[in-house]
Symmetry: C2
Subunit: 439 residues, 2 copies
């Protein structure tokens, strides 16, 4: 009889892909896990859209609208419509023409529908682009730091090193970008692309001024690299909409990454990539991304695409107009958070924050260490959750900053949430400044 | 003024990932493209399920059933149900408990729901597993050859070399498996896993006899590798169902890859992986696959999951029972194709085929070269499409074989399709045997 110890394992963690032990990958898990362990905590952590306007009946309606569109506008028989909606389908998607219209109307972006690949959320789009670009150990990806964690994760899966570029006050430090390119080249490395979120960036909320947009396009041309423009928050910017890099792109330097998670429904998991770059064999980069997609997810669920297609059709392909209520809600939330911070943290105590005109996020800077341990303490002792900025800086930085998300704030809870945050910060300030607080 | 030539390209194909110029990746595109260029051709090429029972109304019904289930059986408020269906969600999925029930009822597989990751089709499940296992340049994947092209493609994306193992008449040549393991080890390489489709394999239609199933489980234990069991066709096997490897697995050696594309709806793009292997840090392999998934697709569309969840609920989680009509249709099609082949190709002309008891596929062997050029000729001159077997043998083989798919055959077209195939084969036989055909 063989006695097995109950702790015997089947696989060693060391025998699994290196990405799985990278702190960037564990961060996502850690943050999710904290929200689940402290469900009663007030959260300024989630990057999810507000749920005020969600309705399951919309899913049925949008499906119906798209189904009708197939029968009437596209003239399909019922059998053909059924096949398009329920069978395996086109790798590049079935709503690419509607996405093109949406980009034309809402973003003044003019691209052929064939340059669009409809993906399983923007995350898949990112993965496809990085997988295509990671060719040799000499390739590196530049990314404005702090960086969206999904970009860091996708890069880890493809083995593409990410080189941080300073964001600075304007959302991109062009001098540092030039310096990093030079540094990479001097080591025999090849910067393939720069990843950036020019509008209401996650996590800083920064937006690039128009002048800087033109300058980075010019530099990309001069130094021969691509720009990976990620634009999930463009409709929620606060002021007048600024032109996207893709709208200003006359040389096909920009690969545009889009999402319907914030502008329609996250539950459809529909994103897309515009890749109109011409490849030496006459194909489009989009066609090559589709080849990779055929080996990761085959095609994006046509049922899920139909839900977003129906939403686009219902709103004449303009989601900017359809999101006016949502945009107003996020602006209200931003105001609530900024006013609440100003009330609780008068100048002179070393607590500061940026004041983006819109978006989902802002950054609070404090005169003490902000890490996962503090977050755990904040959740367990103060009942408030936020995100340590250091998670967005895999190469260091952000150690005294925290990201506040305002997308799920409500007028009912924001005051209490900020009171709890003030209690936490007050507690730490007393610890770091014993001279001013005797005892 | 700068003059640009119109043929100027933006990116060189050589500067994109190596997988993009691998013949295995181009094969998928080539085959799709031929079907599109010759829409009038009768196709024995598609691996898609029959559409006879498709109905868009089912999507609405299944969504409704799952929504009701959330409200009643799970006791969620409407707000909670809405959040689950429409918001970002759990990386490992929201129908894992229903999938577990389905596996228990239909396959006698008993696993914790936490060991299941719901994926964007079985293709994503494959990619996640290979990405996790490809750790170092010493790792290799064994795969029964001929092999499903999606496995070859996913391996290319992760850089994991695939070593073919002979399938032979029984679906797996155990002696060759032992030999390949020895060969790999002698070169300092580490065989991580064997990929196989034990039931009605694509492309051969072969099913492993029960004795061989036990033997390969024993060998996996003895030689310490995993078995990646892919089972899309298990309900359409023809005879009495055989136990899956996972049902026989007492040591958590088997990672089970499942799909609802053939048993429910391809358009939902829902698959899953059962990964109950324990990792040295106390987690399950499923948890590690979910970490990778969070960086490829974040989570599988809960709307698409709800469609499959509703289908499972409607049928008491037994899709075997729900697929009796489909199984009968495929058996009828198989009979039509086998009878039609026997009528057209009497013995003695060197045209033979296997006779699987069920499944979607069979293999025809001919005494001449079968390649993409012949397929092109077949489509353009004879109006019939099939798949060259060589596409399933990236390391050589299958040069005189073609795969016939019977899943979309109809009694109305099968005779004409086989007449066209017979015309093509007759034409080639006359070319290769000039002695018997003077002139």
């Amino acid at each position: 009889m063989t006695v097995q110890t109950p702790t015997r394992h089947d696989l060693s963690l060391d025998d699994l892909h290196g990405s799985l032990t990278d702190p960037a990958m564990s961060a996502m898990n850690l943050l999710n896990e904290i929200s689940m362990r402290y469900p009663a905590a007030i959260s300024f952590a989630a990057g999810r859209p507000a749920e005020d306007f969600f309705d399951v009946a919309d899913v049925h309606e949008y499906l119906g609208v798209f189904h009708d569109h197939l029968r009437t506008a596209r003239g399909l028989t019922e059998q053909e419509a059924r096949r398009l909606l329920l069978q395996y389908g086109r790798t590049k998607g079935i709503i690419h023409d509607l996405v093109r219209e949406h980009l034309r109307i809402d973003e003044d972006i003019h691209v052929p529908a064939e340059s669009i690949v409809v993906t399983v959320g923007c995350q898949e789009a990112m993965f496809l682009v990085l997988r295509a670009l990671a060719t040799s150990p000499q390739d590196v990806l530049l990314a404005v730091s702090p960086t969206y964690v999904g970009l860091t994760g996708a890069a880890l899966l493809t083995g593409l090193p990410v080189w941080p570029v300073r964001g600075g006050d304007e959302g991109l430090d062009l001098a540092d970008l030039r310096a990093q390119i030079g540094r990479a080249r001097s080591r025999g490395l090849r910067p393939r692309a720069l990843y950036l979120v020019p509008d209401s960036a996650n996590p800083t909320g920064a937006s690039l001024p128009p002048r800087l947009r033109q300058e980075v396009l010019d530099l990309a041309s001069e130094e021969d690299f691509l720009l990976l423009e990620d634009n999930p928050y463009g409709f929620f910017g606060g002021g007048e909409p600024l032109p996207t890099l893709k709208a200003m792109d006359t040389e096909r330097r920009v690969v545009y990454l889009g999402s319907f998670a914030k502008t329609a429904l996250p539950g459809a998991r529909i994103g897309y990539v515009v890749a109109d770059q011409r490849i030496s064999d006459g194909s489009l980069l989009a066609d090559r991304l589709a080849m990779i997609k055929s080996m990761t997810t085959v095609n994006t669920s046509p049922i899920a695409q139909a839900v977003i297609g129906g939403a686009l059709l219902k709103h004449g392909c303009s989601l900017r107009a359809a999101n006016l209520r949502q945009a107003a809600l996020y602006r209200r939330n931003l105001r609530l958070v900024l006013d609440g911070l100003a009330e609780r943290f008068p100048p002179g105590h070393g607590v500061t924050w940026n004041t983006p005109p819109g978006g989902f996020f802002l950054v609070v800077t404090v005169p003490f260490q902000v890490d996962d341990e503090l977050l755990e303490h904040s959740a367990s002792h103060h009942g408030v959750i936020w995100t340590p900025m250091s998670h967005f800086c895999p190469d260091g930085g952000g150690e005294r900053q925290l990201r506040l998300s305002l997308s799920q704030v409500t007028p009912e809870t924001v005051g209490q949430g900020l009171d709890r945050l003030a209690a936490l910060i007050g507690e730490r300030l007393r610890q770091v400044s014993p001279a001013t607080c005797p005892g």
